[in-house]
């Protein structure tokens, strides 16, 4: 009969964190940026059907890097949580803070439970407010902690490099086209510093647009509209993005 080796709790947690981080790093990174009229999600995604970004509720969007089946599971859980909240109370009572807390609890429980393998996912929950000051962005790493972010956030593969690039260049009050271009530049920088081209077909872009007249502010930007936004210069985009509706 073999006796199990003693593994110190510190070591066990470090191993689990290492496992989760490696899993997340295999995926492509994605970025979430604030711009003048809302929040934009940009990522490289060769698939048209398996989305990295999705709508949770009226003003709340969801972005995830890592293993698809795991974050899809979390996404559906989030939609259920939000819809149930909104049905029981009121649509205004569904907040990103509440949702981020639920996700943190779930991820934290799974991470520290010995019976399960930790989820290899990193999430972003964003809520667009009436004004840019009201915007909220929460980053949820694999271990169940919550980080309250402002301006820009990157998750996935080389997230650290991308977020430092974004931190230096992101400003408040950017137009959608400016923010989008900055995001694409950040994503197309490789680890060794070289620049590569990401064609528009491989980009997945979505916005939470506070100027949308509908209650549901989430919108995917695809096809012609995306191409147009990528082409235009920063100056002439204000009028164009407002006439998109």
């Amino acid at each position: 009969m073999s006796t199990p080796f003693y593994v110190s709790p510190q070591q066990a947690m470090a191993d689990r964190a290492e496992y989760a981080r490696k899993g997340i790093a295999r995926g492509r990174s994605l970025v979430v940026l604030q711009y003048a009229d809302g929040i934009v999600f940009v990522g490289e995604n060769p698939s048209r059907a398996l989305h990295k970004f999705s709508e949770i509720y009226d003003r709340i969007g969801f972005a995830a890097a890592g293993k698809y089946n795991e974050y899809e599971n979390l996404r559906i859980g989030g939609v259920r949580y939000a819809d149930l909240r909104g049905y029981t109370y009121d649509r205004d009572d569904v907040t990103a803070r509440g949702l981020a807390n639920v996700y943190a609890q779930t991820l934290g429980t799974i991470f520290s439970s010995a019976a399960e393998k930790p989820y290899e996912v990193e999430l972003v929950v964003a809520e667009v407010g009436e004004t840019p000051e009201g915007d909220q962005i929460y980053r949820l790493p694999h271990d169940g902690s919550i980080v309250d972010e402002h301006g820009s956030v990157a998750v996935g593969g080389n997230a650290e490099q991308i977020s430092s690039y974004l931190d230096q260049r992101h400003q408040d009050g950017m137009s959608l086209a400016e923010a989008l271009k900055l995001a694409v530049q950040a994503l197309s920088r490789d680890t060794n510093g070289t620049q590569r081209e990401i064609p528009a077909e491989r980009l997945e872009v979505a916005v939470l647009d506070r100027t949308r007249p509908q209650q549901r502010k989430f919108k995917r930007i695809v096809g012609r509209q995306l191409a147009r936004l990528l082409e235009t210069d920063g100056a002439s985009t204000e009028a164009e993005s407002s006439e998109e509706e």
């Binding site: 059907a49 989305h51 999705s54 709508e55 949770i56 559906i76 939609v79 259920r80 819809d83 149930l84 909104g86 049905y87 029981t88």
Partner: protein, 258 residues
């Protein structure tokens, strides 16, 4: 929905035990809803009155709701239950759309509503029936479609026009004489207001346009571009022009004899 029935069944209609009662429970009832298709879409409209017995319970109730971007429900019957049913229906369509990443087909939506009405059968037998009218734009077939229901959840697709509620008999008669296949959107919206006027004319539970209080029927249009509710100015414009013509001809436009 399945999630809700597992986790919080008390939130679902039809899962509550009713105490046995004598006679009819008094609760506000919504009255007349009409719908008309036209090439390119469908119009759904309702009057603004809710009645409780022989009393007017509410003058400005809203009985036509968007179900999602391409469909709408108009409710007749017990107002409280109907509004809850619509809320749950909206929730379900939105939930499905978000989870699956695609909208339900129009048939799917209509079937779903049918099940919800059937689950209310117990209440209906105690006099608290809900009988909605469902209209939507079928994105696949590129046309407007109308579905009507009975209290048991029986569903039938209507061609051209349909009405439900206490004034529906009169509204249907009016629409039968006024309906044509080639209506424009504007003509269709006028037609539904005419039909509601005729319903209000002969049915005491249906409210006509209230010029003094500026309460006009709710008229909604669903086309390829999605759901749109006519603004107060637009619907009052239609109602006023009809009213003006009726001052000369109280029974409204006359159809040809042969």
């Amino acid at each position: 929905m399945d999630f809700l029935s597992e986790h919080q069944p008390e939130l679902l209609p039809g899962k509550r035990q009713l105490p046995p009662t004598q006679g009819v429970i008094e609760a506000p009832h919504g009255t007349t809803i009409v719908a008309v298709t036209f090439p390119g879409g469908v119009v759904l409209a309702g009057d603004r009155r809710a009645t409780m017995g022989n009393m007017i319970a509410q003058r400005d109730i809203e009985k036509v709701f968007p179900a999602d971007e391409y469909s709408a429900v108009g409710i007749a019957g017990t107002a409280g239950l109907a509004v809850e049913m619509v809320k749950l229906f909206q929730l379900e369509l939105e939930h499905f759309e978000k989870v699956e990443g695609a909208q339900l087909s129009l048939e799917g939506k209509a079937n779903r509503l049918s099940t919800m009405i059937r689950s209310n059968l117990g209440m209906a037998m105690q006099g608290l029936a809900v009988v909605p009218l469902f209209a939507g734009y079928d994105v696949d077939r590129e046309k407007g479609r109308i579905f009507s229901y009975d209290v048991t959840g029986g569903r039938s697709e209507e061609t051209g026009y349909a009405a439900t509620g206490s004034g529906s008999i009169f509204a249907r008669g009016a629409m039968k004489k006024l309906f044509r296949e080639d209506l424009t959107e504007e003509q269709a919206t006028t037609l539904v207001v005419q039909a509601l006027y005729d319903a209000a004319d002969d049915d005491s539970a249906t409210g006509g346009p209230d010029v003094a209080r500026r309460i006009y029927p709710i008229v909604t249009v669903i086309t390829e571009g999605g759901f749109r509710r006519l603004t107060d100015e637009e619907s009052s414009g239609i109602a006023r022009s009809i009213l003006e013509r009726r001052l000369e001809q109280p029974d409204g436009p006359r159809a040809a004899l042969l």
